[in-house]
Amino acid sequence: MSTQTTTDSLKGHKTNWWSGGKSPFNLEYGKVMMWYFLMSDAFTFGAFLISYGSIRFSQNFWPDPNVVFNAFPGAGHADLPLAFVSVMTFILIISSVTMVLAVHAGHNHDKKGVIKWLMWTIVGGLAFLSCQAWEWHHLITGEHVVFANGKLEAIGQTMGGNPWGQLVHDNALLTNALNATPHDALVKIVHSHDHSHSLEELAKMTDTQLRGMVNVTDMHIREKGPIAFGGYFYGITGFHGFHVFSGVVINIIMLLMTQKDVFEKRGHYLMIEKAGLYWHFVDLVWVFVFLCFYLI
């Protein structure tokens, strides 16, 4: 009899989690669902990045990230590969840490702490978004000279093309291309590296004058890069940026709710934990976006 009772209680103990009345995962419902949402979102991002990898492996040539991402705000044409994106990466890491501290303050029912750390997280998110805005603006409007169809032209990185192809070493080819380049393109080419004249002044010059101002040998002229590069870059970093943006909005809502004592009255700050999970996920995705676009 006593043996029977022991086995029963052992059995009971083993199936304890699933016998009802408690969460088998020891987590509140909303948090479990946030985890599953994040897992599905990981597959969405994963699919995008794997698609990028698949296209990249199908090409003989792919742009070198150190060539594409070498600008820094206020540094002009200085060649600083990966400098700005490291700043962006550290902003996200630090904002992730401040979010951990906000969640921890919530555990301790420390309303002031939650408000303080949530505010810093929001500041970090906004800083990241501002950096991305600058980066995109620079890539789209920063024009580089490319050799295409026997002519030269100045283009930025868009969905329709990018200037990140192979370096053209053949100077005879480039000189011929320069001579075949029409007036409008010449104006843009000179303007892309010489800011001492305005576009209007350059437009008034003759083609011969403009060609005299272009030195094809030391301009590092490239071909157009693989067309998919722009779309993948803007698509994936844009999708991530949209996550950052929605994370900032969620954090602002959490901040307002905290200030209005919603969680204090509810008796727990679980909502902050769920917002925190989302925010950390945004940082997690950046690890892989950073890896696929900037590092390898």
Binding site: N26, V32, W35, I50, F57, Q166, D170, L270, L291
Partner: protein
């Protein structure tokens, strides 16, 4: 720390004190920062040493991928507290993610096979995208005047 609003959560295995929590956060932040710096260093190393697209470069890229996975582990396990959840919960998240092993290998291999097929059957693709085409031309230009002299 039993909250009245979520009685379904019954099990509170360990209660961290302030000091261990702070140490854990600081330690993780430093680990993440150091890994990022190493990754950047390796990325710049490949650039400034003008490493060719060979096996050595591929190895460095492999190291960077592994370092990124380590970063992901620390973010998920410590910042997202998945490491503190019970095993069943961890498994429902981690096991489905195993799909990525097939997902990555399968699609990368597919892209690679497409490249090989095109290089074999599409001569224009092969010639117009060959990464060394200008280097070869540049070399022939250098040799020609030398030959005349």
């Amino acid at each position: 720390m039993q909250h009245p609003a979520f009685e379904e959560v019954t099990f509170h295995p360990k209660h961290e004190d302030e000091k261990t929590f702070k140490q854990k956060v600081i330690k993780t932040t430093i680990i993440l920062s150091i890994i990022t710096v190493i990754e950047l260093g390796l990325g710049l190393l490949m650039h400034f040493l003008h490493m060719p697209d060979d096996f050595k470069r591929l190895m460095i890229k492999g190291i960077v991928v592994i370092l990124s996975l380590a970063k992901a582990f620390y973010i998920v396990a410590v910042f997202m507290h998945l490491g503190d959840e019970i095993r069943n919960m961890i498994m429902t998240i981690v096991v489905p993610l195993m799909l990525f092993i097939w997902f990555i290998i399968g699609f990368i291999a597919d892209g690679n096979s497409y490249k090989n097929l095109r290089n074999k059957y599409d001569k224009h693709f092969k010639e117009s995208t060959n990464p060394h085409k200008y280097e070869q031309k540049a070399n022939t230009h250098q040799i020609k005047p030398g030959g005349k002299n």
